[in-house]
């Protein structure tokens, strides 16, 4: 019954079965990551970068193919009903509709992220030549002259993607914690690798690490308390203990349950960037290399919301009246804080960071609908928001200071974006589209996303949340439109900026994001159908 405490006797032991097809996407990504580590160790320096890009792309695309096979098969989603059969690896991983949808989303987004990371036409790329060199030291200058590249970016990123794939598919709290750490640790490192403004980047990395560790501790403590309550870390067992159908919950142990839920929630809320646990977001988004920011903003949000959905819908439905009011408060605070503070930002990356906080709030309204259409709404929203975000950050990485010797560092101050519409109509047009989508203007994908979560909230009685969401969206629309106005109707002031000519990878990422944003705005059914079909969690 409780293998962690009693000494296991060999006769009791049942070897876990592994459904290799179901976990193939994760295996491929982790395998690719290990190969990438070996490449890093043995490949000659000259060809290392291109090999790494190849390994990363091949791995991610193959994993996406494996997810595609799961979708085509479809059987795993329907037939699995009994815990031992549906999960794999002793039911610590469950591959059900939402898991497949989220894994597909994460993989698609991370392929785009890899493409933006390959960008080297602008000033040698976004990453530092040698992370271990002290900023501003002769060593750094030497590394730059020799043309070193920190190509560890790709294995790190692959490990992170692997953890993200695992996070929403975890069926028990320990696996979830492992996944959380596996995808977080590489991210902390990636944040510190910016080529320009390295001190800011390293500061961001350290802050993210410290606060991330802090929140992980809360998550782990919450998991421990829940184990104390249910004597199991499996989500289904916790759900059964709450409703009293499983192991009879110890009378008077509600304190364990409530504190456990709250602390677990802190860990998840930190990752999605919900107020008041959002506070790392702007600093880290600003400091991290822009392609990493895009990757982090899009994929972390997908993975963390996926896990939050699973915890809320699988483990905790019986206790919803206990934690819902508190999470309502968090959602409201998040929407208000995100949209209001974004207004006064003067740095485009910080503005997008606050906007991502506001979006976390909007997504939470969908989560808190506690309904099937809430799930499909959140899945849809995550997909469209991910593409918009990656595209937006890819564009941010192209807007550069106009130095005397060609392009300089990123021009992230908003004043440098003034008049961009006249000088670079294509870039400004694409950015405008992304901003409109984030603002939720009709005929963009963002509108349908917001519509989906708000209507789910309204139809489940959470109209207060939806109302505040609409008001916050109105406030948010203001600062998005302000940037558009700045780009088109203002004369340039301050130092000038230019848009660097993107390489093939970045160009493809931006174009695909544009296409997705438009297509899903006009014909959302294309994705609503799959999202709806996928919106059933297996216990």
């Amino acid at each position: 019954m409780t293998p962690l405490l009693s000494v296991p006797v060999a006769a009791d032991f049942v070897a876990p079965t592994v459904d290799y097809v179901a976990v193939l996407p994760m295996l491929i990504v982790f395998g690719a990551a290990i190969v990438a580590v070996l490449v890093e160790a043995f490949a000659p320096r000259a060809s290392r970068f291109s090999i790494q890009v190849g390994v990363a792309l091949v791995g991610l695309i193959a994993a996406l193919g494996a997810v595609g096979k799961l979708i085509v098969d479809g059987t795993r989603v329907e037939t699995a009903g009994i815990p031992a059969a549906d999960g794999t690896l002793a039911a610590s991983i469950v591959i059900d509709g939402p898991a497949i949808f989220l894994q597909g989303t994460i993989l698609a987004l991370s392929i785009l992220a890899v493409l933006t990371m390959t960008e080297r036409s602008t000033d040698g790329g976004a990453f530092t030549p040698q992370a271990s060199a002290v900023p501003g030291s002769p060593g750094e200058g030497a590394a730059r002259r020799v043309g070193l590249v920190q190509s560890e970016v790709f294995p790190l990123m692959l490990f992170s993607v692997g953890g993200m794939l695992m996070f929403p598919a975890s069926n028990d709290l320990l696996t979830m914690f492992v996944a959380l750490e596996v995808f977080s640790l590489p991210l902390y490192l990636l944040c510190g690798l910016a080529r320009r403004r390295r001190l800011l980047s390293q500061e961001a990395s350290l802050k993210y690490f410290l606060l991330g560790a802090f929140s992980s501790a809360f998550f782990l403590y919450g998991a421990a308390l829940l184990y104390g309550f249910a004597e199991s870390v499996r989500l289904a067992d916790i759900a059964a203990a709450i409703t009293g159908t499983g192991r009879p919950a110890v009378v008077g142990q509600d304190g364990l349950l409530l504190l456990g839920i709250a602390l677990l929630a802190v860990g998840l809320l930190f990752k999605v960037g919900a107020a008041p646990f959002h506070i790392w977001t702007p600093d880290v988004y600003q400091g991290a290399p822009t392609p990493v920011t895009g990757f982090m903003a899009a994929c972390t949000k997908v993975a963390a919301f996926g896990a939050m959905l699973r915890v809320v819908y699988v483990a905790l439905p019986g206790a919803r009246w206990d934690f819902m009011p508190a999470l309502w408060g968090v959602a409201i605070l998040t929407m208000v804080v995100g949209s209001v503070i974004a207004i006064v930002q003067t740095d485009v990356k910080r503005m997008l960071a606050y906007s991502s906080i506001a979006h976390a709030g909007f997504l939470m309204t969908g989560v808190l609908a506690i309904d099937k259409i809430g799930i499909s709404g959140v899945l849809f929203y995550l997909f469209v928001y991910g593409f918009t975000t990656i595209g937006a950050f890819a564009l941010v990485s192209l807007v550069r200071d106009a130095g005397e010797d060609g392009v300089g560092g990123e021009a992230t101050h908003l004043s440098q974006w003034a008049g961009l519409g006249k000088r670079h109509p294509m870039a400004a047009g694409a950015f405008t589209l992304f901003l409109l989508a984030m603002a939720g203007i009709p005929l963009t994908s963002g509108f349908m996303g917001k519509y989906a979560v708000f209507s789910a909230a309204v139809s489940n009685g959470a109209w207060v949340l939806a109302l505040i969401g609409v008001l916050a969206s109105a406030v948010a629309a203001f600062f998005y439109v302000r940037v558009i106005v700045l780009m088109y109707f203002s004369e340039p002031s301050g130092s000038a900026s230019v848009v660097a000519t993107p390489g093939v990878g970045t160009l493809f990422a931006i174009l695909l994001s544009v296409v997705v944003t438009i297509v899903l705005g006009i014909a959302p059914t294309v994705l609503f159908g799959p999202a709806e079909a996928a919106s059933l969690f297996l216990p």
Partner: protein
């Protein structure tokens, strides 16, 4: 219900009161003889060298990490050994993969020169 909250409140208030009274009594009763020596760091009677925030050589961390990695994987090896008979060859291969992955990390550290003490 409210009664239990009163108890919680009383315990908290009692705690605060206990601390405050103790410190207050301490201040009232003790003699006061300020002396600069008293403000230095206590290091087993030895005079402290340097400042409190001194840095440790970063290379030590690397060794600490490597030690932790391989110490922790031993924790997995023991329960695995208990059920090895049940698992059979598949189990051996799986553990091989696990150790192999760890070894890849070590390999990488070695190739990138992290194991050399002098640069």
């Amino acid at each position: 219900m409210s009664a239990s909250w009163v108890v919680v409140g009383a315990v908290a208030a009692g705690g605060v009161l206990f601390f405050t009274l103790g410190m207050l009594a301490n201040r009232l009763l003790r003699p006061s003889a300020p002396n600069p020596e008293k403000l230095t760091t206590y290091e087993s009677g030895v005079d402290p060298v340097g400042r409190g925030w001194s840095q440790t050589q970063v290379r030590y961390y690397l060794y600490a990490f490597l030690y932790v990695v391989f110490a922790v994987d031993a924790v997995y090896l023991f329960p695995w050994a208990v059920v090895l008979a049940e698992l059979g060859w598949v189990g051996v291969i799986e553990m091989g993969i696990f150790l192999g992955i760890l070894a890849v990390g070590l390999l990488h550290a070695w190739r990138r020169g992290a194991l050399r003490w002098t640069p």
